[in-house]
Amino acid sequence: MTGVPMVLAEKVSKNFGSNRVLRGISLQVDPGEVLCMVGPSGSGKSTFLRCINHLERVDGGRLSVNGQLVGYRQKGDKLYELKLKEAAFQRQDIGMVFQRFNLFPHLTAVENITLAPMRVKKQSRTAATARAMELLERVGLEDKGDAYPTRLSGGQQQRVAIARALAMDPKLMLFDEPTSALDPELVGEVLDVMKGLAKSGMTMIVVTHEMGFAREVADTLVFMDEGVVVEAGPPRQVLSDPQHDRTKAFLSKVL
């Protein structure tokens, strides 16, 4: 393990027009760490996650992944915006799982998983497919390789989506409310896969409303509200002994 943090955010800010969504987020995620972000909707959790892989452009502060500035290149004291190709290259190390799965409906589960490795990393179909089957087995769907997404339940789709992200061998996984669109009885199977992933040492940032999961798996729990980090710390401490009034108010509603 190097001393370089996987994610380092220093006073990151982001505006949508006059709407200040992020107002100076500072936090650090070390390799192998699992960070869970909770907070009311509209607090900027998802936006921050999308900034990390440059789906959204950071407007202020510094955000770096694995020691590399996200979306910009520094030359002297000037910042240059990255070309689309360079930004895409940065994303190779970052996997993302979406609330609404976003599987490609015209491709089977295996094709969903092999698409990026074949097109971006130029892997052969045989190698990519073998890896896809391995990943499907890991998420418990080895018999669903030929199924189209519409034939899968929400939980199964989300597990395929996790396998798809893992196929690029990311160093960091981002989860944007991965269980919020699921029927309650399907949440467990997805959380189990994520727990397994955390145990294997993957660095993860998880935006979630699953407090039980956060308590069990997270190394750090961050509570965000109105674009700022209100409180951060070990999950047990934050959940059982919140220091801030806003944290207390939020937790009293969700726990």
Partner: protein, 350 residues
């Protein structure tokens, strides 16, 4: 759409025997006399009688010249002209699809210059009649007899005669293609916009480039939306080619049949001959469109349901399926009336 409804239309005289026979199979099935539709039969009989009268009359009327229809239908000049029409359609449509795709991407691009150019193009080419445009392209070679290259108001570096617009076939392809491109761009744009934003986002998050995202994720899904209206456009284009007479190009199907009838003074039989050839082509195109649509509806669930029946043949079998029984999943209820999913209105705009 309701499969049962479609079948009922094709099979108005359904025998109640079918219902009772199926009912015997399952204990709880309802045994009832099906609702009668006496007026349907009455109207059908009246219309059939009317059609019979018309056909009998037409068969005897000398103006139709059925002997001439038989004589010219496989005439070498006609079949060669049919090829010209077919190739005009193909070249013009290929050009229109390529330019239309470009225009659609330009209109969706964040670059305001490209956006305006595409808008202006569509405004002009969709806002003027294709017949007028064809006349214009026909006289372009008079307006621009030579192409000159160089800096304006200085001695030109090179001057080449305008060989493009003196070739009337190429002129026709350009005229038809440029007009059609404006319509195609709107179709493509609607298709690209129909794909959920999350798809491009997921693809981007997987480190795929914009081009890869378009090619492997967005465009394949947009195809489902783009294909059906494009099929209509091809059919429409096939018929619009008859307007190349405005250029004037007269080696296409309509032009040649007019040419022959001008000599023989038998206009009606040659119009019938041309119409039969147009109908043949549009019918083949409709069948082709059906299969392409099926190919691009992968992953939408509809195709999988059909596959589940294990009888891919049923989808195109014209035999009316028995629909009175309980529709088992993947049963014969999946069968479609031929042509029904095409949804063509043969809409033309020429």
């Amino acid at each position: 759409m309701s499969e049962r409804g479609a079948d009922r239309v094709t099979d108005p005289a359904k025998k109640p025997a079918t219902a009772t026979a199926t009912a015997a199979d399952s204990a709880d099935a309802i045994v009832a006399i099906p609702l009668r539709h006496p007026w349907r039969n009455v109207i059908a009989v009246v219309l059939l009688l009317g059609l019979a009268v018309f056909l009998l009359d037409a068969a005897q009327r000398p103006d139709y010249g059925w002997a001439d229809v038989g004589k010219y239908i496989f005439d070498r000049r006609i079949s060669q002209a049919a090829w010209v029409t077919l190739w005009l359609t193909i070249y013009a449509m290929v050009g229109a699809i390529v330019i239309g795709l470009l225009l659609a991407i330009m209109r969706l691009s964040p670059n305001p210059v490209l956006k305006s150019i595409a808008w202006l193009y569509i405004w002009i080419f969709r806002g003027t009649p294709v017949y007028v445009q064809l006349v214009f392209w026909g006289i372009v070679s008079l307006i621009y007899p030579v192409f000159t290259f160089g800096i304006p108001f200085t001695t030109p570096w090179a001057t080449i005669p305008n060989g493009i617009f003196t070739n009337l076939f190429i002129t026709a392809v350009i005229g038809l293609g440029l007009n059609e491109a404006a319509y195609m761009s709107e179709i493509v744009r609607a298709g690209l916009l129909s794909v959920d934003e999350g798809q491009a986002e997921a693809s981007t998050a997987l480190a795929m480039s914009w081009g890869q995202t378009m090619r492997y994720v967005v465009v394949p899904q947009a195809m489902k939306i783009i294909i059906p209206p494009t099929g209509n456009e091809v059919i429409s284009m096939l018929k619009t080619t008859s307007l190349v007479a405005a250029i004037p190009l007269s080696v296409d199907l309509y032009g040649v049949s007019r040419g022959i009838s001008a000599v023989t003074f038998t206009p009606v039989p040659l119009l019938i001959v041309a119409s039969l050839w147009y109908l043949l082509f549009t019918s083949v195109l409709m069948v082709g469109q059906h299969f392409i649509e099926k190919r691009f509806s992968r992953g939408t669930g509809r195709l999988k349901a059909e596959k589940g029946a294990g009888t891919p043949g049923t989808t195109s079998t014209p035999t009316p399926a028995p629909t009175s029984g309980p529709a088992a999943p993947g049963g014969p209820g999946v069968a479609r009336t031929p042509g029904a999913p095409l949804g063509n209105d043969f809409g033309g705009k020429g």
